[in-house]
C-alpha cells in the first residue's frame, strides 16, 4: 500500500475532527474523499501532508511510519483549495519551486517546467505573473507546481471548487486522463459528488470525522451504506420501513422490495426513477407541490396525505402541473433496502 492510515485521530479542543480513520490508497489509484464541509476531509489531507500532527494513530507511506517527519521531507504533493501560488514569482518560478527545493540542476528545472506547462496546456505562460492568470489558469499552474517534483502521492483539496461549472466539468475529464496517463496516485477531497464520481476509482464518504462508506463510484451510487450517505448523494425518498418478504410497510403504504432484501426494521431508499406516476384514482394519491426542471428530465415533488414528500423523475412531456392530483406506484427495481 502506498498510503495507509491506521486509526488516525485529530482532536481540536476535545472534538475529534478525524476519528480513528483507517484508509488505504494503492499505487496508481485515484481515491476521492467525499463529504460535507466540516466532515474532516481537509484535515485528513493535512495529516497525511504532515501539516497537522495526529493525536493518535499513524500515517504510513510505502510502509514507513511518518510520525515526527516534517512536511518538507514526506515527498507528497498537495494542491491547495485556493491554489496558494507564490504572488512574487512568475508562473515558471512557481512551477520550478519544488524542483529548486530538491536541488535539481538549473537546466533540468527549465526542461521540467516546460514539460509540465505543456502538459497542463499553458505552453507559453512561463514568464507570466500569477496575478494576471484567470481562475482556470491558476488551477493549471497549481497542478503543474504540485506535479513538478514527481511526488509519490498527489493530494488535491477541492481541486475545482472555485471554478465555474462548465470549466469544472471540462477540467475533471482532463485531470482524469492526465492522471491515468502519468500513473499518478491521487488522494482528492471534494464536497461535489459529480466531481468525485467523475474523477475517482474509489470514493470514500466521510461524516463527522469517520468514514461512512468506501467503494467504487458505481457501488456507492447503487447501494448507499446508510441514510446519511443516501441523503448526501441527493436522494430525498429515504424512510424507516418494516421490510417483509415481498413488500415493506412505509408511511407511503406497501412498497415492493427486491427479492433478496434483508428483512426487519430498515431504512428504505426509493430512487426518483422508481416513483411512477399513474392516474389519480390508482395507487397512492398525491398533490404536485413543485416541479424542478433538470434539463434531461423534470423532478416532481409530490405531497401525499400524512406522509413525507416524494420525489419523482419524469420525462418533460409527461410531467404534471403544480397543483395536479396524481397517483403513485413503486418500482421494486429502483428500491434499495439500506443496511
Amino acid at each position: 500500500m502506498l498510503l495507509a492510515l491506521r486509526e488516525a485521530t485529530v482532536r481540536f479542543g476535545g472534538r475529534a475532527v478525524l476519528d480513528a480513520v483507517d484508509l488505504e490508497v494503492a499505487q496508481h489509484e485515484i481515491v476521492c474523499v467525499l463529504g460535507p464541509s466540516g466532515s474532516g476531509k481537509s484535515t485528513l489531507l493535512r495529516a497525511v501532508a504532515g501539516l497537522q500532527p495526529l493525536d493518535s494513530g499513524r500515517v504510513m507511506l510505502d510502509g514507513h511510519d511518518q510520525a515526527g517527519l516534517p512536511a518538507h521531507r514526506r515527498g507528497v504533493g498537495l494542491m491547495f483549495q485556493d491554489h496558494q501560488l507564490f504572488p512574487q514569482r512568475d508562473v515558471g518560478g512557481n512551477v520550478a519551486f519544488g524542483l529548486r527545493m530538491h536541488g535539481e540542476p538549473k537546466r533540468r528545472q527549465a526542461e521540467r517546467v516546460q514539460e509540465l506547462l505543456d502538459l497542463v496546456g499553458l505552453p507559453g505562460a512561463r514568464r507570466r505573473a500569477v496575478a494576471a492568470l484567470s481562475g482556470g489558469e491558476q488551477q493549471r499552474v497549481a497542478l503543474a507546481r504540485a506535479l513538478a517534483p514527481s511526488p509519490r502521492l498527489l493530494m488535491l483539496d477541492e481541486p475545482l471548487g472555485q471554478l465555474d461549472r462548465s470549466l469544472r466539468e471540462r477540467l475533471v475529464v482532463e485531470l482524469k486522463e492526465l492522471f491515468g496517463r502519468l500513473g499518478t496516485t491521487v488522494l482528492a477531497v471534494t464536497h461535489d459528488q459529480g466531481e468525485a464520481f467523475a474523477l475517482a476509482d474509489r470514493v470514500v464518504v466521510m461524516r463527522d470525522g469517520r468514514i461512512a462508506q468506501s467503494g467504487t463510484p458505481l457501488e456507492v451510487w447503487q447501494r448507499p451504506a446508510d441514510a446519511f450517505v443516501a441523503r448526501f448523494l441527493g436522494f430525498e425518498n429515504v424512510v424507516e420501513a418494516t421490510v417483509g418478504t415481498e413488500a415493506a410497510d412505509t408511511p407511503w403504504g406497501k412498497v415492493p422490495v427486491p427479492e433478496d432484501a434483508p428483512q426487519g426494521t430498515r431504512t428504505l431508499l426509493v430512487r426518483p426513477a422508481g416513483v411512477r406516476l399513474v392516474p389519480a384514482d390508482v395507487g397512492l394519491r398525491c398533490t404536485v407541490a413543485a416541479r424542478t426542471f433538470r434539463g434531461t428530465h423534470v423532478t416532481v415533488h409530490l405531497q401525499p396525505p400524512d406522509a413525507p414528500r416524494l420525489e419523482a423523475a419524469c420525462a418533460l412531456r409527461d410531467a404534471p402541473e403544480t397543483g395536479d392530483e396524481v397517483g403513485v406506484e413503486f418500482d421494486a427495481a429502483e428500491i434499495v433496502v439500506l443496511a
Binding site: A49, G50, L51, P53, L54, D55, S56, G57, R58, D65, A67, G68, P70, A71, H72, R73, R74, G75, V76, G77, L78, F80, D82, Q84, F86, P87, Q88, F97, G98, M101, H102, R145, A146, P149
Partner: protein, 554 residues
C-alpha cells in the same frame, strides 16, 4: 506510543524556536532599557539601602511639580484635539479624492513626522519667534505663548492622523455606505451609521498616539517653551542636568512611566478592536475626483492648511539659514570655534550618519526578531504581553534612559561609558517599536497556507522563511529600516546625555548653537537644522517610493 512522544518533541521544538527568537530582544530590553531605568529610579529613591517611597508624596505635594503635571496633561489634550480637528479633513481628502500631485503631497505631509524635534522647534522659532517672520511682518511673537508649542505639535502629528485614519478610510468599501443609502439612510446618516463606527477605533488609536507623543514632548518644548512652560520630560531633564535633584527626577520618571503605561494599554485595546473584521478593499479603487463646489472647497482648504502649517515653517527655516551673504552660516559650520564645540559643527553630520547606520542595524535585528516571534501562530499570552512592552520606549522618558545609561553601564562587564556604541544603543531602543509596528502587520498578513504550500514542496522551515516570508516583507523591512534611521537621526533626549562632547550629533549640535547668544549662532543653528531636515526628508522620500500599502500605523 512512540508516536505521541515524537509529536510532543515536535511541539517542544516549536517552543524552543520561539524562545530562541525572543531571547535576543528580551535580553536587549532587559539590559539597555529596564536596567538603566531601574538604576536611575533606585539612585533617586534609595539611600543607604532603604527605599524612600515617601519621597513620591513629598514631590507630588510641591506646587511647581503639580503645575508641570497639569500643564503636561492639558497641552497634550489640547494638542491632540487641535491635531484631530485640522488633520481629519486631510485624512478624508487623502482617502477619498483623486487629484494631481497626490503622491507628492502625501510625502510632503509625512516629512514633519520624521523630522527631529529640534528642527521643528527651530523652524517654529524662525516663524513665530523673536525676529521671526510674523515678528517682521506684523510684530507678532508667539514663542512666549503656549500657541507656538501647540502649533508645533499639530505640525508634528498631522501625518499620524492622516496615515492611521486615512489609510483605513481609503480601504473601507464604499459599497457599505451605498448599501445603507439603499436602505433609506441619508448621506450624512449613512456616514454616521456605517463609516464613523468603522473609523472610530482608528481615530481613537491615532488620538492616543498623538497624545502619547505630545505628553512626552521634549525637544519642541525645550526650545519653544522658554522658562514658563515645561512638560514632565523637560522637567526631568532640568532636575537631572541642571538642579541635580535625582530623587525628584526619579519620582517624575515614575509618574511618566505610569501615565505612558496607561496610554499604551488603552492603545493596545483599540488596536485589537481595529483588527476586528472590516470589509477592506484596495485603496486605489475608492478614490475619485472631487465633485461639486463643496468638495473642491474642502480640497482647497486642506491644501492651504498644509501650505501654511507644514510647508511655511520649513520654508522660513531654509530662508533664515540663507540670510547671511554667501552661505555664511553654512561656511561657519566648517570652522572650529573652540567655544562650545571641540570640533567644527559640520562633523556632526558624519557622526549622526554613522550612529544612525549602527542604530538602524541594531533596531532592525532586534525588532525583526521580535516581530517574527510575535507572528508565530502559537504565540501565547506571554508573547502577546511582550508586544505591548515593546512600545514602552516610545513613551518612557528618553532623558531618563540616557542618564540611566551613564550611571548603570559604567562597570565591567558592561562598561560602555566611553564606547561609541552607547549612542546607537540608546537610539535603537526608540527605533525598535517602529520596526515592530511596521513589520508585524505585514508578517501577520502572510497566508499561513502559502508557507504550508512551500513546505509541502520540500522547503525546510528556514527555506520557507527565505522563500516566502522574506520576499513579501522585504519592502516592509526597508521601510522599517528607514524609520529607525530617521528616528535615530532625530533622537535628542537620550543622546544629549551620552554623546561625547567631541562627537555631537546633529540635533545636539543644533541645541548647543541655539543655547548660545547672538545672531551668528542662531543662523548656524538654522543652517544645521536645514541640513538635518534635508537628510531626513531624503530618507523619507526614498521610503515613500517603497511604500505601497498604507495601512501601517506611522
Amino acid at each position: 506510543m512512540d508516536l505521541t512522544r515524537t509529536e510532543v518533541a515536535a511541539r517542544r521544538r516549536g517552543a524552543a524556536a520561539r524562545f530562541g527568537l525572543l531571547a535576543a530582544p528580551v535580553a536587549f530590553f532587559a539590559v539597555f532599557f529596564a536596567y538603566p531605568v531601574a538604576a536611575i529610579v533606585a539612585r533617586g529613591l534609595k539611600t543607604d539601602g532603604t527605599w524612600h517611597l515617601a519621597r513620591i508624596g513629598e514631590v507630588l505635594a510641591q506646587s511647581d511639580v503639580r503645575h508641570v503635571l497639569w500643564f503636561t496633561t492639558w497641552q497634550a489634550l489640547v494638542s491632540t484635539a487641535l491635531t484631530l480637528l485640522v488633520a481629519l479633513p486631510g485624512a478624508y481628502v487623502f482617502a477619498r479624492f483623486d487629484f494631481p500631485g497626490k503622491q507628492v503631497l502625501r510625502a510632503v505631509v509625512t516629512v514633519p513626522f520624521v523630522l527631529p524635534t529640534v528642527v521643528v522647534g527651530t523652524a517654529f522659532l524662525a516663524l513665530v519667534g523673536r525676529g521671526g517672520l510674523l515678528d517682521e511682518l506684523w510684530g507678532v511673537r508667539l514663542d512666549t505663548t503656549v500657541w507656538a508649542i501647540l502649533l508645533a505639535h499639530v505640525f508634528f502629528n498631522y501625518a499620524v492622523v492622516v496615515r492611521t485614519v486615512g489609510g483605513l478610510w481609503a480601504q473601507l468599501d464604499p459599497r457599505q455606505e451605498e448599501a445603507a443609502r439603499m436602505l433609506g439612510a441619508s448621506q450624512l446618516k449613512a456616514w454616521r451609521q456605517v463609516t464613523l463606527p468603522a473609523l472610530a477605533p482608528a481615530v481613537a488609536a491615532a488620538a492616543l498616539m498623538v497624545f502619547l507623543f505630545t505628553f512626552t514632548s521634549f525637544g519642541v518644548v525645550q526650545i519653544l517653551g522658554g522658562p514658563t512652560f515645561s512638560t514632565l520630560e523637560v522637567e526631568i531633564y532640568r532636575q537631572t542636568s541642571e538642579i541635580f535633584d535625582l530623587s525628584t527626577a526619579a519620582v517624575l520618571t515614575l509618574i511618566q512611566f505610569a501615565a505612558v503605561g496607561a496610554i499604551l494599554a488603552v492603545h493596545a485595546w483599540t488596536v485589537r478592536r481595529r483588527e476586528t473584521a472590516l470589509r477592506l478593499v484596495d485603496a486605489s479603487v475608492t478614490a475619485r475626483r472631487p465633485r461639486g463646489a463643496g468638495q473642491w472647497a474642502l480640497l482647497g482648504g486642506v491644501l492651504v492648511t498644509v501650505a501654511v502649517l507644514l510647508v511655511l515653517p520649513l520654508a522660513v527655516l531654509v530662508q533664515r539659514s540663507l540670510d547671511a551673504p554667501g552661505f555664511g552660516y553654512y561656511r561657519a559650520l566648517t570652522s572650529e570655534d573652540g567655544g562650545v564645540f571641540l570640533v567644527p559643527p559640520i562633523e556632526a553630520i558624519g557622526n549622526s550618519l554613522s550612529y544612525a547606520v549602527a542604530a538602524t542595524l541594531i533596531a532592525v535585528l532586534i525588532g525583526g526578531l521580535a516581530a517574527i516571534a510575535l507572528t508565530r501562530r502559537d504565540a501565547g499570552r506571554f508573547v502577546r504581553g511582550f508586544d505591548a512592552l515593546l512600545m514602552l520606549p516610545l513613551g518612557v522618558s528618553a532623558v531618563t534612559v540616557g542618564f540611566g545609561f551613564l550611571i548603570s553601564l559604567d562597570e565591567p562587564p558592561l562598561d560602555l561609558r566611553s564606547s561609541w556604541i552607547l549612542v546607537p544603543l540608546a537610539q535603537a531602543l526608540v527605533g525598535v517599536p517602529f520596526v515592530v509596528r511596521t513589520m508585524l502587520p505585514v508578517l501577520r498578513a502572510v497566508d499561513v497556507r502559502l508557507r504550508e504550500a512551500a513546505s509541502v514542496l520540500g522547503a525546510s522551515p528556514w527555506r520557507v522563511w527565505r522563500e516566502v516570508d522574506l520576499p513579501l516583507v522585504r519592502r516592509a523591512l526597508l521601510i522599517a529600516a528607514g524609520f529607525a534611521f530617521a528616528v535615530s537621526l532625530g533622537e535628542f533626549g537620550a543622546t544629549v546625555f551620552i554623546a561625547r562632547p567631541d562627537r555631537p550629533t546633529l540635533p545636539v549640535a543644533v541645541a548647543r548653537l541655539l543655547g548660545r547668544p547672538g545672531d551668528f549662532n542662531y543662523g548656524q543653528a538654522m543652517a544645521l537644522s536645514t541640513i538635518l531636515m534635508v537628510v531626513c526628508a531624503v530618507a523619507l522620500l526614498v521610503l515613500e517610493r517603497l511604500r505601497t500599502d498604507r495601512t501601517g500605523e506611522f
